[in-house]
């Protein structure tokens, strides 16, 4: 109770500070703290799977993505071309936003009693999948189509980001070239962390069947471990024209679709798993999907490719 109030106050303070920060760098530092605190709030809401995703993607990858944007935009990130709204307009916007928040808060106070829930149905159907983690069961079996479409969205995002490459950039390595740091603490960390991170990611993926964890969390960790040597200037990402890279991005969704079609042929419904085969099939899809999503997430953080030669 006290912990919840304290946590909520800290989250609200960090969010306000981040939105109103004068400098973009401060805003992003606070945004990373916001993601971290939000993941603790998910623990308090009894959703450890979401807490892991928020910690890995909301705080880690999003923070690094925004930091990269601040750095690449340089002074543009702080001093934009158009003027901020005047005092009166700002006050009016503030009143409007407070109204939106108040209306939403009222809706939360008057949520229906008893709360509608699908938990009993999930708990009843979970044994047929052989899984112990209900969230993984929902993701991979009961709402498998949602997860498939989501994996497709990530692939589409990679294609969209790549198509924003400037003229002459198409096909070259993604992201701005990082200055090499050579020896030193950063290079040491960038060499030592990835092996540990890969082990942790495998652990999180494996326990995901029965305990909190799973492919998205593992994929985000793997992506971060690939980005670390890139950030340190130790490794150059492959050119986006490389066929193996494109194969890696689409392999997971393609396997998912193939298994789904096989289910349609054998069991008569798209994405239906034959009895007794559910768990091994789900685990195989998850392993390949993890690799694909990890590659895609890392490519998304790196951003569109830059032209090889400076203009």
């Amino acid at each position: 109770m006290i912990a919840d109030l304290l946590l909520a106050a800290a989250i609200a303070a960090v969010a306000t500070g981040s939105v109103l920060a004068r400098r973009a760098f401060t805003a992003v530092a606070l945004f990373i703290a916001y993601g971290l605190l939000l993941s603790l709030a998910w623990v308090r809401l009894a959703a450890p799977d979401v807490a892991m995703t928020e910690a890995a993607i909301g705080a880690g990858l999003s923070g690094v993505l925004l930091l990269g944007a601040v750095r690449r935009l340089g002074p543009h990130a702080d001093a934009p071309a158009n003027l901020p709204p005047g005092l009166l307009l700002t006050a009016l916007i503030g009143i409007g936003c407070a109204g939106v928040a108040a209306a939403l808060g009222a809706a939360i106070l008057w949520l229906p009693e008893p709360a509608p829930t699908l938990a009993p149905q999930v708990a009843a159907a979970l044994p047929t999948t052989g899984l112990g983690n209900a969230v993984t069961g929902v993701l991979m079996s009961f709402r498998g189509l949602d997860t498939l479409l989501e994996a497709a969205v990530v692939v589409l995002a990679v294609i969209a980001v790549w198509s924003l490459a400037p003229d002459g950039g198409w096909g070259s390595a993604p992201g701005a070239r990082q200055p090499v740091v050579g020896r030193g603490p950063l290079s040491l960390l960038a060499r030592m962390l990835p092996p540990i991170g890969i082990v942790v990611a495998a652990h999180i993926l494996w326990v995901g069947a029965d305990a909190p964890g799973g492919k998205f969390q593992a994929a985000a960790i793997l992506a971060a471990m690939w980005l670390l040597p890139w950030l340190a200037g130790l490794a150059t990402p492959p050119r986006i024209a490389a066929p193996w890279l494109r194969m890696a991005v689409v392999a997971g969704p393609v396997l998912f679709i193939v298994v789904g079609l096989a289910g349609a042929a054998v069991e008569g419904a798209f994405l239906a798993y034959p009895p007794g085969w559910a768990k091994p099939l789900i685990k195989s899809i998850e392993v390949v999907l993890t690799a694909s999503i990890a590659v895609a997430l890392a490519l998304l953080v790196m951003g569109p490719p830059e032209p090889d030669a400076p203009r």
């Binding site: 303070a13 004068r22 401060t26 530092a29 603790l40 990269g68 999180i204």
Partner: protein, 90 residues
């Protein structure tokens, strides 16, 4: 023992949250990075204490993820901090 560990978790978290004032006050980017790092360590410690208190191994896994990602984010923060500390034109 569980009560003691839960209270300790609360206290560690509260301490680290107070350190956030440094992010708002600055004055320089290094101070902001440090406050974020302290919040990360405090959050990890609180999760470990709570995880053992409630015997929830998932919280230890979450702390492991946070430790990895905090290291990753700290590196990015330290790399992205602009070399000169000056306020932009308003």
């Amino acid at each position: 023992m569980a009560e003691f560990l839960s209270i300790a978790a609360l206290l560690v978290f509260a301490t680290a949250a107070v350190g956030l004032l440094r992010v708002l006050r600055g004055p320089g980017d290094p101070d902001r990075v440090m406050a974020a790092q302290l919040l990360g360590t405090g959050g990890i410690a609180a999760l470990l204490l709570a995880g053992v208190a409630m015997s929830a191994p998932a919280l230890v896994d979450l702390a492991l993820i946070l430790a990895l990602l905090a290291a990753f984010a700290s590196v990015a923060l330290a790399r992205a901090a602009p070399p000169h500390d000056r306020e932009p034109p308003r």
